[in-house]
């Protein structure tokens, strides 16, 4: 096989795996785009909320750490845990949003971005301190990171010859529903108009009477809830891996750049491209992991450079927000 010349019978599996991976990236990209719109800062804090949500879910359901990901919690208990985790994520997002769109709203954007990064690191440290201890039941070791049971059950299906779990299917389905709902809200409701107005010109938004703090807090609460839910989904897909979450999060940041952090459709298209290219490399199998990573990120850097050449002000115009 030539350099990533995929055989026709492998196209289907690469597509399926790519779409499944895009689902995880998308769960991060959506909160990143939403929070950027109301605060013009990169929401590193969302990664911290995901980590916290992931480990909180694991603690609540009291799942034993196991590679097979079978837990003792019933389906009802698992769903209740999801509700609690999403509520905690929303509260964390709201608290953060209240400060950055309120008292700290006049801070320079760079300082706010560092503030957000600080919260990611603080929450990661809190996760290590509170959950990743022997006392909490966490046992680290070599090998694949331990997974927690999926709220959608352990069932898997074969699509184009690839085993796809119900968790992966539901992740993509949820992302699709979110995309449709959020687009509808942003484009066809008054609240959506207020959010897009703030995204366009926050000062003018304030001058015409939109309470930035209230709208911003609401958006951050939604983003926090989605980030925490992403933690539950990631825990069931790749396991309780702090590093794994960081890798997915940083990749989502890369694809959010494609949409200028302002366009949900472009960010999700970026997720899809990233997921599929990644899956093509994986299915092809002729390249080593480090080479794949270098090629993948190199490709995205090239895309960002090209976008900058075509539209120096970003791709907001193309986003059709």
């Amino acid at each position: 096989m030539g350099f990533v010349a995929l055989q026709s019978e492998l196209v289907g599996p690469a597509l399926i795996l790519g779409i499944a991976a895009a689902g995880l990236y998308g769960l991060f990209a959506v909160p990143l785009v939403l929070t950027y719109q109301v605060s013009r800062t990169i929401g590193f804090v969302q990664g911290g909320i995901t980590l916290f949500g992931m480990f909180l879910y694991w603690r609540i359901i009291g799942a034993p750490i196991s590679i097979s990901a079978t837990g003792s919690a019933s389906a009802v208990e698992q769903w209740l845990a999801v509700v609690v985790v999403v509520a905690v994520g929303a509260a964390m997002g709201a608290a953060y949003g209240w400060t950055v769109t309120g008292r700290l709203a006049n801070w320079p954007r760079v300082r706010l971005t560092i503030y957000s990064l600080g919260w990611l690191l603080t929450l990661a440290a809190a996760v290590i301190m509170l959950f990743m201890t022997q006392r909490a039941g966490y046992r680290s070791g070599l090998g694949a990171p331990p997974r927690v049971p999926s709220v959608f059950g352990p069932r898997s299906f074969r699509l184009a010859g690839v085993a796809v779990t119900s968790q992966q299917i539901m992740t993509v389905a949820l992302l699709g529903v979110l995309m449709v709902l959020l687009t509808a809200v942003l484009l066809h409701t008054r609240v959506g108009t207020f959010i897009r107005a703030i995204a366009d010109d926050p000062d003018a938004g304030r001058w015409v009477g939109i309470p930035l703090n209230l709208v911003g807090t609401g958006v951050y609460a939604l983003a926090g809830a989605l980030s925490a839910l992403a933690g539950v989904f990631i825990a069931a897909t790749i396991g309780l891996s702090l590093l794994g979450v960081m890798v997915i999060f940083l990749r989502s940041l890369t694809v959010a750049v494609v949409g200028g952090f302002m366009s949900l459709p472009l960010a999700l298209a970026g997720c899809l491209v990233l997921g599929i290219v990644e899956a093509v490399f994986a299915v092809d199998g002729s390249l080593s992991l480090p080479t794949r990573e270098v090629l993948l990120m190199g490709m995205f850097l090239l895309v960002v450079v090209l976008i900058n050449k075509v539209r120096p002000l970003g791709v907001i115009e193309a986003g059709g927000r």
Binding site: T193, R196, A197, D203, A204, W207, I210
Partner: protein
């Protein structure tokens, strides 16, 4: 209707206004004149609540609003059309107007849009056009229309004539005059005295943050 009593305000480490007083009655059009750095913009933003008054009071209909945040002052009846129009360029004309309607009941939205379209029929024709593609005059109409959406009692328009053809400026001032006839109090800030004499009732002149002259108009 609106009273500014001995207000001092400015930015951290940079006081701009010193003991500025101003009052505007319903149906009156008052111009605030002054060159660059005179404090016109700071005065309007202090009335709006975007710049904090360090002393003095802003009173609307006999009630102090000095401690209210901007969005609550807008809801109370103070509206602002900023310098450079600052329309939401990626939103349509209609969406720009809707953005100015926070707090208005949804069932009243159509009524308010019609009110703006009656005053500026061009905006109705361009309702679905992206605001960024409107001409300078149309953008200024949009900025004024957006400021009218909360049904204000006091409308403040900053540098209304800046960069516009005289015929457009005349049209805009005529529209403001028509609004005054309906009982709206209007404050415009301008760098130079042009049409103000014809359309305004009074004007005050600011220099280095203090009122140096107050003159009756028409």
């Amino acid at each position: 209707m609106l009273e500014v009593r001995r207000v001092c305000s400015g930015y951290p480490g940079m006081p701009v206004l010193f003991d500025v007083s101003l009052d505007v009655q319903a149906g009156e059009l008052v111009a605030v004149l002054g060159g660059n750095g005179a404090g016109k913009s700071t005065l309007l933003k202090t009335i709006l609540g975007d710049v904090r008054a360090t002393s003095g009071e802003v009173i609307l209909d006999g009630r102090p609003v000095t401690s209210l945040p901007t969005h609550r002052r807008v809801a109370a009846g103070i509206s602002y059309s900023p310098e450079g129009r600052r329309i939401f360029s990626h939103l349509s004309t209609r969406e720009n107007l809707i953005a100015g309607s926070y707090g208005a009941p949804t069932r009243k939205l159509g009524e308010r849009l019609d009110l703006v379209y009656q005053l500026f029929p061009l905006l109705g024709e361009r309702a679905d056009q992206r605001a960024g593609s409107l001409s300078g005059g149309e953008q200024q109409m949009l900025a004024l229309g957006r400021a009218l959406m909360p049904l204000p009692r006091v409308l403040m328009a900053e540098e209304l004539s800046l960069g516009l053809a005289p015929i457009v400026v005349t049209h805009l001032y005529a529209a403001l005059r028509a609004l005054c006839e309906r009982g709206l109090a209007v404050i415009v800030s301008e760098q130079f005295q042009r049409l103000e004499e014809e359309y305004t009732d009074r004007w005050i002149v600011l220099e280095r943050g203090t009122v140096v002259a107050e003159v009756g108009g028409r």
